[in-house]
Symmetry: C2
Subunit: 396 residues, 2 copies
Amino acid sequence: MSREYPQDSVGLVQPQVLHFDQPLELVCGQTLNSYTLIIETYGTLNKDGSNAVLICHALSGNHHVAGYHSDDDKKPGWWDSAVGPGKAIDTNKFFVVCLNNLGGCHGSTGPASINPETDKPYGPDFPIVTVRDWVNSQVRLADHFGIQQWAAIVGGSLGGMQALQWSIDFPERLRHCLVIASAPKLSAQNIAFNEVARQAISRDIEFHDGHYYGENTVPRTGLMLARMLGHITYLSADGMGEKFGRELRSDNISFDFTPQFEVESYLRYQGKRFSTAFDANTYLLMTKALDYYDPAAEYDNSLSSAVAQTQCKFFVASFTTDWRFSPERSREIVDALVDAGKQVSYAEIDAHHGHDAFLIPIPRYMEVFSAYMKQVEADTPAIESHDTVGGTDNAC
Amino acid sequence: MSREYPQDSVGLVQPQVLHFDQPLELVCGQTLNSYTLIIETYGTLNKDGSNAVLICHALSGNHHVAGYHSDDDKKPGWWDSAVGPGKAIDTNKFFVVCLNNLGGCHGSTGPASINPETDKPYGPDFPIVTVRDWVNSQVRLADHFGIQQWAAIVGGSLGGMQALQWSIDFPERLRHCLVIASAPKLSAQNIAFNEVARQAISRDIEFHDGHYYGENTVPRTGLMLARMLGHITYLSADGMGEKFGRELRSDNISFDFTPQFEVESYLRYQGKRFSTAFDANTYLLMTKALDYYDPAAEYDNSLSSAVAQTQCKFFVASFTTDWRFSPERSREIVDALVDAGKQVSYAEIDAHHGHDAFLIPIPRYMEVFSAYMKQVEADTPAIESHDTVGGTDNAC
């Protein structure tokens, strides 16, 4: 007997693997002759293909956005709080498509995949992919489903960059662009943190210049350090203080190097868990995609010019204590859109969670997000409501 | 022929090595039966020993605060901008004492020193030292010079914690306490960054559980990562942006993992330089001293109670963009002192340099610092002015 899932959950879901044989020319100059994308979809595509929503993932995300992979699954997908029947992205109304990006390590073609030219894993030879490359690969995905125009493309953080790039490169193919907790390009400090993470990984003796797949090892220490560092930048200083303070794990100070403060123990745990679950070469690629993202660069550093030809409406949201991509960075996007005469709704949400806030169902955030998605719905005349909840509606 | 030094430089200086044979009981419960402190002094101690100023160093600092060690020296000591004839800490007026703290790696007894009990380097067996231990060792230094009461004790960052601890533990032995860019205890975020640095060092395969001295190696990668990370927290996001922006090192993006942005190259350089100049075990000890510092802890977490018995006057300064020890943290100290009815001057300096600002001769900062030191001078009746400048006055 199948487990009972909450009424507002998409329930049991199954990833799909799609193969693409049309060569994909990448920004770096290399070409992927063929590639695989692993995806999940929730809800039902309507007849004219007008109710589709694409969700783009961030640095360590993947295609498993909502629901459960098995009845034993303890945790649902990474954005289950926002995607499901009746939720902000309502799967009764929308056909939701999520993928693992190229270069990923969750089933799409990436560094651990076999390079058909060598019959060995790509490893460090996997080409550097950019946000624009991901968008190009996502266009193929839209074509696969016969989606001429997305009702909305939604993304947080690095996902928001993909949504923004869609609006610039394929203005006719989306009606709404939702850019959450993102930035129009990295700051020097953002790049600096990425560089420390990359050095930690690539200087790990187990990295073997990226060829660790054949060595029966992985650069665990490097990945652990990268994740620990990442975690600090995902949380606000105040949020971290509220969560951990200076709480000691035992009553006495031990005067040695065992973890004594709760925050040390938490970070070590998170780092270790990540180091066995994520691919090091993918981590390097994702940070490079972040560093290189700068849509204004080819428009004489004018973001307003970069977005001048966009045709969709925009929703931009930021969180007060996010210091990775602060509200100021979101306002740069908003200002450019306003300058260019585009229609944009902006919400700055009070939250103590730092950058992580975009993944958390903060009431005010969910309220404005849902309200905006109602507008997306209103702009999708042929929408058909599907009241079926749970897993039965999710096969695709 | 000796090189010409600037008029306001202490000129050529020579460190002094002092041996102490009276056992020092440490907070951790262990005892150092004997130890060495390397120091430098500038200016002349007056007859009644009332014009002495102690400068306490921060995480990676040392005894070489001002002047030059040789005519070939390109750079002066780490706080040369504030210490010299006519400078904020005027060596024409004050006898300035600076030391490398216990556990250090610049000449004082530390992990690389020979443990008399084993005839081998202490390595990881060097006891964990705390801010209070440093103060106790500095008391011996005062006694050595016959300094009954310091005119002032001055420190930035971790150095400020030592100054504050002096005022609490030895209220009669200082007239002024200058706490710059410091905090009454670390935040969870501060501890978290320290923990990443410690993990980077201690998981480096060259660390050998701290016994690398015998292995003819040092954990360079770990130290490099720790320093790169440290550097990010020493600079403000805006300051880093102004300094490096997203400047590329060459005109084209190379789509590989070579350093492409100026900020990457800068951090790698700083990290590498540090990794061959600093001792890994010392770095671990210094971060632990920071983590453990919490003078309010034994006063029911009341900082006002902790400072209730202090007798000196205080100068507290912070810098607007310092996010390692933000102005808010300095105000906690000020508020506690005010609550306890103490005399305190507080300056919040506009500066875009982040935490590093305390080492930089920002005009407004130097102005208020100098003005306060004039007050210290006024409170030192027996002060004798020495107009001799340059190196001749520095032997001690």
